[in-house]
């Protein structure tokens, strides 16, 4: 399909994209013909990606499993209505996104989350505001072991979980699934500009939390 992280058919670009589209079209025709082996091929290509996306949206393994089941059943039952205007993978991601969001909203009410307090602030002259030690810290140079430590991952997971659903969704589609901004926009049904803005805010908010964790010490701001 698309995206840097996807394997084989999913990871192709440029000329490979034509091969990928043709492979997907052939798969669609086999699915329409009720070919059981085609369903297996579909699972091999997309089950993990659907699960991973569903897991990141729902943050719950059991819910993610149910989403995977729902999505594949929906795709197989509705394959005749797939018109091919979008790529098959895009359609599957859209079905998955909707199913996962419904599952997520059934579990937890989202109460007016705002990222404003987690975004950088600036002085009137355009420089960043805040403690100079905090503003200049470059933890990207931190040894890899620290960055991959359980504590850092837990902090990052919590920070991702705390994002508003729509921000987490574009972040996962872009930075986990590897879709382009244009592909993400197609999946979520919004403009590229809206996707880019929301994605950037999500990344800045996560960066802020990681900096408080890995930086020169808690600055107390939130």
């Amino acid at each position: 399909m698309f995206g840097h992280g996807a394997a084989t058919v999913g990871g192709l670009r440029a000329g490979g994209r034509v091969v990928e589209i043709e492979a997907d079209l052939a798969l669609v025709e086999r699915l329409r013909g009720g070919d059981a082996a085609a369903l297996e091929t579909l699972m091999e290509r997309y089950a993990f990606r659907v699960y991973r996306l569903a897991y990141w949206i729902t943050r719950n393994e059991a819910d993610a499993e149910e989403v995977v089941q729902d999505v594949f059943l929906t795709v197989f039952r509705k394959i005749h209505s797939f018109e091919g205007r979008a790529a098959l993978g895009s359609w599957i991601y859209r079905v998955s996104t909707n199913a996962a969001l419904i599952k997520r909203r059934g579990r937890r009410a989202e109460v007016g989350l705002s990222l404003d307090s987690q975004l950088p602030t600036f002085l009137p002259d355009g420089h960043r505001a805040g403690d100079p030690a905090f503003v200049t810290v470059d933890w990207a140079q931190t040894p890899e072991a620290d960055l991959l430590s359980r504590e850092t991952h837990e902090n990052l997971h919590k920070a991702i979980d705390a994002l508003p659903d729509r921000h987490r969704l574009v972040l996962v589609l872009r930075d986990v699934e590897g879709l382009s901004n244009e592909e993400v926009a197609e999946v979520v049904g919004e403009s590229v500009a809206a996707v880019k803005s929301r994605l950037h805010r999500a990344r800045m908010a996560l960066r802020e939390k990681l900096t408080r964790h890995l930086g020169p010490g808690e600055d107390g701001a939130d």
Partner: protein
């Protein structure tokens, strides 16, 4: 472009700069700013690393038994569809 501020670099240009989506003239203006602004270099590096860490925290693999469960589920549901 007039002199770039930190605010402009971080809020307006950073993401596109890292994706190499900017025209060479604007990219050059940003690089002139980065050459004299260690805080923006630090912000860019940590923003980029944040993006990478997000990509690395995904679950490694769908549990193998899930595929078995999925196959069984689909077979049962599709068999019902035929009646």
């Amino acid at each position: 472009m007039a002199r770039v501020t930190c605010r402009q670099f971080i809020l307006d240009f950073l993401a596109d700069y890292l994706d190499a989506k900017l025209c060479p003239e604007i990219a050059a203006d940003l690089e002139r700013h980065l050459a004299i602004c260690p805080p923006c270099v630090a912000y860019m590096n940590t923003y980029k690393r944040t993006r990478e860490l997000v990509g690395q925290t995904a679950p490694a693999e769908m549990p193998q038994e899930m595929k078995t469960i999925l196959r069984r589920f689909l077979a049962e549901q599709l068999a019902k569809d035929k009646f």
